[in-house]
């Protein structure tokens, strides 16, 4: 992955508006967070291969970046995004890595389902 170029990402994002997409969205603080620090409140979620079509999507911020996708019925929101790539299968992958390189958030969109 490479650091997010906001303008370039916005260009690719706008191209996907109106397309039926499969989404992977995830936040995580790691399964060991509360083990290493008992006062740490561990929370996270992931959803994989939910289908979505957005009407308009934006990437904002100075980095780490935020992303909001407006759909007919609601919204998708993500923050803490630092890196991105378009992979071999033409999927748009975003991730947020902390200062030690650990993944904290992932947001991915593709026209075909991700492997289960």
């Amino acid at each position: 992955m490479k650091p997010i170029d906001r303008q370039l990402v916005q260009h690719h994002l706008s191209d996907l508006a109106g397309e039926a997409l499969y989404i992977h969205l995830e936040t995580t603080n790691g399964a060991y967070a509360s083990h290493k620090d008992q006062s740490f409140f561990s929370a996270g979620a992931f959803i994989r291969n939910v289908q979505l079509t957005f009407l308009q999507g934006k990437i904002t911020g100075k980095g780490p970046f935020r992303m909001g996708l407006e759909t007919e019925q609601g919204w998708l929101y993500a923050e803490g995004l630092t890196d991105w790539e378009i992979d071999d299968e033409d999927r748009l992958l975003f991730a947020g890595h902390d200062s030690t390189g650990k993944l904290a958030i992932a947001l991915e969109m593709g026209k075909k389902p991700f492997p289960k």
Partner: protein, 219 residues
């Protein structure tokens, strides 16, 4: 000496930290070791240092690391169950127990190594241990293999007593480090610190690396 050892863990690299020395002691004595690994650690947070993986490439990278770790450990029988990281406790438990039972029934191990349910920190660890215990209990009482379980949750000793199986794996230290190092995407960046602390004779790290501890589970 064991006849056949079966290791059942959910994530590639689970075998590296707490079990590698014990596995090496068996394979080098000529005892076959089979390894059932339930997932590919698809949801890991470590993506390598520098970054070498993303969420979608991580499974393949970890699969290769797992195969290399098995080669270093002398494990010739690796069975990947194809489950997804983080989901073991939510999967059909009866189906999982049946798959595990079938492997146990086929291999007929004298010893199984897995996690101690309820005392293994990660929900996948606890769920794996629990499913293994249920699978073993499908066997008639006299036919059940010994189960050595790994516990490392806070308060394990208070609840379970001291571990009754304690292996000093010093003779296999270098090889164990190589196994840990094979899981490059997960361990690059921490391995140098670990080696340094070993050289400085940091007692906590020495204990963690050189002593592998298990509780015999009452099956």
């Amino acid at each position: 000496m064991e006849q056949h050892v079966l290791v059942i863990l959910p994530h590639p690299d689970d075998e590296a930290f707490g079990v590698a020395g014990t596995i090496l002691s068996h394979t080098q004595a000529g005892t076959p070791v089979s390894y059932v690994c339930l997932t590919l650690g698809e949801m890991g947070r470590n993506m390598g240092r520098p970054l070498i993986a993303n969420r979608e490439t991580l499974p393949d990278i970890r699969k290769n690391e797992l195969h290399e770790a098995c080669r270093l450990l002398g494990i010739e029988d690796l069975r990947r169950f194809g489950m997804r990281d983080k989901t073991v406790e939510f999967a059909d438990q009866d189906a999982l127990q049946s798959r595990l039972f079938d492997v146990i029934d086929e291999i007929n191990p004298s010893l199984i190594i897995t996690f101690y349910p309820g005392y293994a920190v990660h929900p996948d660890h606890d769920a794996t241990g629990a499913a293994v215990i249920q699978a073993v209990r499908r066997l008639p009482e006299g036919d059940r293999p010994t189960v050595h379980a790994i516990a490392f949750a806070e308060g394990s000793e208070q609840a379970l007593g001291e571990p009754d199986v304690v292996h000093d794996i010093s003779p296999y230290y270098d090889q164990k480090m190589n196994v840990i190092e094979a899981h490059q995407s997960q361990t690059a960046g921490v391995i140098e610190t670990m080696k340094q602390r070993m050289l400085e004779e940091d007692e906590t790290v020495r204990q963690r690396m050189l002593i592998e501890r298990f509780w015999t589970f009452p099956v």
